[in-house]
């Protein structure tokens, strides 16, 4: 809607201006002009900061954490847009957005094996390996922040606290509190049985089976019905690198009963 340009509109505006100035209020338009000026100043301050300290952001995970926390405190999201000053001048954006790409690719490559669930440790190792030895150091905090940003793209990225660290979920499988708590129980050995669930969590058999069936269906758990004693439900996401070998998609399909 264009501002009226007739004489009547001008008169009305002058009246409004006078009223506000009387009360000591500043008009929004004037503030926008003020903001534009302040923005220019800020931009050059940021440029100066970048010329002196851009290295710190790239080199030091510790510095990045501090930087992010300061931004959060004042209500600024330096990663909101690649077009933001922070991203353009400090290069923070590219660092995290590229990390986002690498995270997505690792999760996609392993999905056939672990159903879309991976430990933060394994994700960290694989991302580091993929980046090569000449790349900048990446901390787990960096990964967590990149994952938080990926969430907006609706592909089910989430983090589940397990055993002192996290499981990173990269598929929109619905996991409620029951599923989460069973995952946490399985963390120590990489597998869990119905008896263990009944014993530790004091659940009825039906509830335990319901949860385990869901995990099987979503491809997050594999069933070892030949285990001595009782059937074991294994979570590939929790297999350590040393004790597993990579499974091809074809093999993975054959393994679900």
């Amino acid at each position: 809607m264009r501002r009226g340009v007739g004489a009547g509109a001008i008169a009305k505006k002058k009246l409004a201006e006078a009223k506000y100035k009387e009360r000591g209020n500043v008009l929004a338009e004037d503030q926008i002009v003020q903001m534009s000026k302040q923005l220019e100043t800020f931009k050059s301050n940021l440029e100066e900061f970048a010329s002196k300290h851009k290295q710190e952001i790239r080199k030091s995970p510790h510095f990045r954490v501090q930087f992010q926390e300061m931004c959060a405190t004042i209500g600024v999201d330096p990663l909101a847009s690649g077009k933001g000053f922070w991203s353009e001048m400090l290069g923070v954006g590219d660092f995290y957005y590229e990390l986002g790409v690498q995270i997505i690719e690792v999760c996609l490559a392993l999905k056939h094996r672990n159903g879309g669930l991976i430990t933060l440790d394994e994700l960290h190792q694989r991302v580091l390996k993929g980046r090569g030895k000449y790349a900048q150091e990446v901390s787990q905090d960096d990964l967590v922040r990149a994952i938080k940003k990926l969430k907006v793209m609706g592909n089910g990225f989430g983090m589940i606290p397990v055993g002192g660290s996290y499981l990173v979920q990269s598929v929109p499988a619905e996991l409620n509190m029951d599923h989460t708590v069973v995952l946490q129980l399985a963390e120590k050995k990489g597998y869990v049985t119905v008896s263990e669930i009944k014993g530790s969590l004091k659940w009825e058999k039906e509830r335990a089976c319901h949860v385990l069936d869901h995990l099987l269906k979503e491809g997050l758990a594999w069933l070892d019905s030949q285990a001595a004693g009782e059937a074991q439900y294994w979570l590939p996401a929790l297999f350590s690198e040393l004790t597993s070998r990579d499974v091809t998609p074809e093999e993975a399909n054959q393994m679900t009963p």
């Binding site: 903001m35 931004c71 004042i74 209500g75 909101a80 590219d94 790409v101 592909n155």
Partner: protein
């Protein structure tokens, strides 16, 4: 490198292995040692290195030889390293690979990563100095034992001073950076408060804001990374930047979408576009905000959100009816299909083929058989 002695590499009683790391090359000062790449082992008492191919080739040095050590970050063509400064060689040192060296420091070059953890453990061991409290059967010569010559002392002091200066310099850089950062944040905070005041006024309609001014305001918010408090929409929706971006994407995604059966998950698009750009990457929010504008710009691509929350970009030309009809055809043809089978059939990702089957089910054309063996779809004969 003349501080090392040949060793069997076997640990003594009371000596424990702390960490080992493969892919380590030794440097005599700045020069590569005349050795191959091997494994570095840290014990409670010694620093050991063993050739990876020839296990007989094994060197060791007591940790007490170490004065100070620091990290050296990786660079172009260079692995990350740990530089270790050493006391002069003790008189009773056993023979090793080097008789003499002009350097009093060595480097460990980590060609297969691991330097972070190794550095951490080395720091722990050098702090705890466990070798002092648990002597091992063979007396390991300590560095500080004998040398009293004046020239030696000066050498050590010189090294220590240089290290101290370098450490102060690094500390100064970081604290200066933090100081400057804090000042910057104070100014940024002023901008945040100003923007809130403006937003409130817009909401209460104080003053007469034109559309141009609103757009300008939004672009300021975008630049600063401030959430738009007026519309509560995600950052920067409706700015010129996202408009341009939407048009670019509309162009760029045509061919890839055709290749992938007309549909791509938003995360796929994110990776595709950013890999192509290489630099000045899009944030996930940038992508989302641009995609939201497809419809209003009447571009031949649209964004769509499935019930599961999965977001996709699809070609306008690939209508919903077509997708559902083709899903029904395939399922009828094969009798039944799982998402994985359907994916293989179409050359689509499992995620997206599942969405199509779910959509067909929602429309009443398919029904499901949901068991532990997986989710399988059948033509709906209940109509």
């Amino acid at each position: 490198m003349d501080r090392f002695s040949w060793s069997s590499g076997l640990l003594e009683i009371n000596e424990t292995l702390v960490i080992q790391q493969r892919g380590v090359r030794l440097y005599d000062g700045d020069d590569k040692a005349k050795l191959d790449v091997g494994a570095a082992l840290l014990s409670t008492h010694r620093l050991i290195w063993r050739d990876v191919k020839n296990h007989e080739c094994c060197l060791a040095m007591p940790l007490s030889q170490i004065i100070y050590f620091e990290e050296q970050a990786a660079g172009i063509g260079k692995s990350a390293k740990i530089i270790i400064y050493l006391h002069p060689t003790p008189a009773n040192k056993e023979p090793g690979p080097y008789q003499h060296s002009k350097y009093s420091y060595i480097k460990l070059s980590f060609k297969e990563h691991g330097q972070i953890e190794f550095y951490r453990r080395l720091t722990e061991e050098m702090t705890q100095k466990r070798w002092e409290s648990t002597p091992v059967s063979q007396p390991i010569p300590t560095g500080s034992a004998t040398q009293t010559g004046k020239t030696r002392a000066v050498g050590i002091v010189g090294i220590e001073r240089k290290i101290e200066e370098r450490r102060k310099e690094t500390d100064k850089n970081i604290s200066e950076a933090f100081e400057d950062l804090s000042k910057l944040m104070v100014k940024a905070k002023e901008m945040v408060e100003l923007s809130r005041s403006i937003a409130n006024k817009i909401k209460d309609k104080q003053g007469d804001i034109t559309e141009d001014e609103t757009i300008r305001f939004k672009s300021y918010l975008l630049s600063m990374g401030i959430a738009n408090p007026v519309t509560r929409e995600t950052h920067g929706s409706g700015t010129h930047y996202h408009l341009q971006l939407a048009k670019q994407l509309g162009d760029m995604l045509q061919a890839p979408l055709e290749e992938r059966g007309g549909m791509m998950a938003l995360t796929e698009v994110y990776c595709l576009v950013n890999r192509a750009r290489g630099m000045e990457l899009l944030s996930p929010e940038d992508l989302l905000n641009a995609c939201k504008m497809f419809e209003s710009l009447k571009l031949p691509v649209r964004m769509r959100v499935f019930d599961s929350g999965v977001m996709v970009v699809q070609l306008q030309s690939h209508s919903e009816e077509e997708m559902i009809a083709s899903a029904l055809d395939s399922v009828t043809d094969k009798g039944s299909l799982t998402a994985e089978e359907f994916a293989k059939l179409l050359g689509l990702s499992v995620l997206l083929s599942k969405e199509r089957l779910l959509l067909a089910e929602k429309m009443g054309h398919l029904c499901r058989d949901d068991s532990v063996e997986g989710l399988r779809f059948y033509p709906n004969l209940f109509e």
